[in-house]
């Protein structure tokens, strides 16, 4: 650690050199000039020429002040170089700021193709941290040799030591492998979807699997690069197995269950599952995300997100509407009709009525059935198929309303329960 402190001290000493201070001062002046110009010009508020003709100019407006700052920096750096011959630190600031601006432009372009939420997530989790890391390392390399910093040993494990570079790679590299694998995995999955005609759930599952694969490869590469020896891995593995035996068992079990479900394709993002509700009914839920520990489901009835541990799906049976065959769901409406109406006529009317409901599929055709002879009515059922399993209750309601209207029109009675009482003759 003392070596790192010494390197930082050397860096501090370099920062106090006259040539360096002069460049920082010039950048400070440029920054001050920018503050004044920004206030005067109000570039982001004013209407730009050609803004109506080229709508993309509007998207670039938030970058106007940043561009102005870059221009101030660039002018200051150019002046420094021409006047003193020394200005490469200022040039570095200009180049790095240009890189930051380019990433902003890239994100704006990306927003044209990807949802804003995804772009924002990538910006916050990947792009900005990456720029910070690049900026810090590049800035340090302007002053000193990065290799020397990376070579400093910070942790000694027996005969082996862990250098600062290796530690940084382990921590920062792991973070960026995990965060940075999301977009490439999505892109690869999209490519595979196009080539192999994947369904939406298969596409989502494949993107997750690709991401896990990328992360695994990345972590292995990091470990290989760091040069972690096999004895250390064995020691960590031993410790991990003890941990798994106790507290980590559930976590590990859920992770493996999630992986297995993905591989098997039993539960994939986009699938619809039937989950038992509190009042013994069943609610259809859509799988939003299959995470490392738990699966997030969306229940449209009350717009809640249910977080269910992965091993629940692994150990219990469940009903899915997105399995091997198709996603169609069968719904039914049960209704009682007075005895006086001929069943054939009632069934034909029920089937014809169900056909008129827009969200009922024509094929397979709705099917009317006489279920049983009850006390006060003959009970019929009209069974129909719908495309989206999440719409079951809504479509059943529409079919029920259509039947009521059809019965009213045709004079078919839906009887109340009737009970005939016979009084015994007086003795």
């Amino acid at each position: 650690m003392n070596e790192i402190a010494q390197l930082l001290l050397d860096l501090l000493a370099d920062l106090t050199r006259f040539g360096v201070l002069r460049q920082f001062a010039a950048m400070g002046v440029a920054f001050g000039l920018w503050l004044i110009l920004k206030r005067q010009l109000k570039l982001e508020q004013r209407r730009w020429p050609g803004e109506r003709r080229w709508p993309f100019l509007k998207r670039l407006k938030p970058l106007a002040n940043a561009g102005l700052l870059w221009l101030c920096f660039a002018l200051a750096a150019a002046w420094l170089v021409s006047a003193t011959g020394v200005g490469d630190l200022a040039r570095f600031v200009v180049r790095f700021y240009a890189l930051c601006m380019l990433t902003r432009v890239g994100l704006i372009v990306l927003e044209l193709y990807l949802p804003a939420k995804v772009v924002e997530r990538e910006d916050l989790q990947l792009v900005r941290p990456l720029l910070v890391v690049i900026g810090v390392l590049r800035l340090y390399s302007q002053f000193d040799n990065l290799d020397a910093l990376f070579a400093v040993e910070v942790i000694a494990i027996g005969k082996d030591g862990l250098s600062f570079g290796a530690l940084a790679l382990l921590v920062v590299g792991t973070y960026f492998v995990i965060v940075g694998s999301a977009l490439p995995a999505l892109a690869l999955a999209a490519l595979m979807r196009r080539v192999f005609q994947f369904s939406l759930p298969a596409y989502r599952a494949s993107s997750l699997l690709i991401r896990y694969l990328l992360v695994a490869i990345g972590l292995l590469l990091i470990l290989a690069n760091v040069g972690v020896n096999t004895a250390l891995i064995a020691a960590v593995g031993g410790g991990l197995s003890v941990g798994l035996g106790f507290g980590l068992k559930e976590v590990f079990s859920n992770f493996i269950s999630g992986l297995w479900l993905l591989l098997e394709g039993a539960v994939r993002p986009g699938d619809v599952l039937l989950i038992e509700s509190v009042n013994n009914g069943e609610d259809p839920c859509e799988v939003l995300e299959l995470g490392m520990r738990a699966t997030t489901l969306w229940r449209d009835r009350d717009n809640v997100e249910l977080v269910v541990p992965n091993q629940t799906f692994f150990t219990q049976s469940m009903i899915t509407y997105s399995g091997v065959r198709d996603r169609h769901r069968r719904g039914q409406v049960v209704i009682g009709v007075a005895y006086r109406h001929p069943p054939t006529m009632v069934i034909a009317l029920l089937e014809a009525t169900a056909h008129t409901v827009p969200r009922v599929l024509a094929s397979p055709a709705p099917k009317g059935l006489l279920l049983r002879y009850d006390d006060s009515a003959i009970t019929y059922s009209i069974r129909f198929w719908i495309e989206n399993p999440m719409d079951g209750i809504g479509v059943a309601s529409e079919v029920g309303i259509a039947i009521w209207e059809a019965f009213a029109r045709e004079g078919i009675e839906i009887p109340y329960p009737q009970r005939v009482l016979h009084q015994a003759p007086p003795v």
Binding site: A13, R17, D88, N145
Partner: protein, 411 residues
Amino acid sequence: MSRARGLGLLFGLSGLLSACGSLGIQRLPAVGNSINVVVELSSQSDPVEQGRLKALLEQEAREFKRLNPQLQVKLRTVAADRLQQELAFRTGRGLAPDLILLATSRDLLTLHQKGYATPVQLNREERAIVQPRLLASLRDGGQQLGVPLFMAPTMACFDRRRLPSPPATLSDLVRLGQEGSAIGLSSSLPGLDWILSGFGASLVPPPSGPSRGPSQVLPALQWLQHANLQPHITFVSSEEELRVGLAEGRFLWIPCPSGWIPSLRQALGADLGVELLPAGPAGPARPLMAVPTWMLGAQSSLAQRRLAKQFMLFTVNAVNQRTTALRLGTVLPVNPAIALPLKAYPILSVMDGSRRTSVVPSLQQYQVLTRHADQVVLLANQVLAGARAPLAVAPDFQRLLDAIPAAEVQP
């Protein structure tokens, strides 16, 4: 700036200061009390010697800091082939080193002309601690561009066990090759020069010696051709091959700079023999001597320049020079006040003998030599490869020799 930000900055700075304190750093650097020293590592010197040199300079920096507690000395090493690139990089950022130790004075004039060096102002007392001729070799236009640190002469190294008596002359060398002793020679500029000097055709002409005419150049080229025809004499293009070759037993005899001695001794132990280079028909070999040279940087403040000069002169004072020479055992002091115990150190004695005949080119000569180095080596290689006869090459070679000014300094 809002109050919250101001407080945050204040806490951040105090945190940094307390962190420095907890790490044992008592004093943060202030403007002008730190100097950056860059040490050029020659491609010819071996890793063992490079490590020893770096350790020695770090020791001297610590000693110097002990005398100047306010001072920070930051020492870094740079490979010779990256020095100019490094200087350009750091100069462009306002971070040019305050002091540079060049492996030889070969590029000093060029570096000065490129604006990387500042002349050194030395008073009479300061001049007295360095051999005048060495100082004179580092002057240009009345300006002192550098100060020598020590001298590293070139000698002959051989395997004493397999070669009991080393060759005393170039004829003996060829004879040994004919008899089956594996001899390694270099076709690089320094490797050729000591051979040429034996024929009076040295690349660096003596100031008052006989001029180098065809009668000197042709026999030298013919000797090169003749030597290369011997099955056991090998000319290599890389100096490294010679050192490794002797250490691994492929060669029995090689010319070697004094910096190779530690690693060769590691490999051969007591069997390592060190002797003067063989003489030629015109006299003793006059090899080019490497003189590691201090050079002041061009971007230092007055205080930094003063400190850099102090450190430079500290390394050439009598105590440090003597300690350096005896501790390394591979260099000779430049301070004329020191008399080394040569009888007790046989290798130092040989080195001193080599010093007497060695040549230190002036900055101007080095610059011309560097400019023509590729051409000299090319012509020599044409002779060695048999592509052109010595007679055909001699006029071209003569023209190159004539281009090198006669301003040599004899230490």
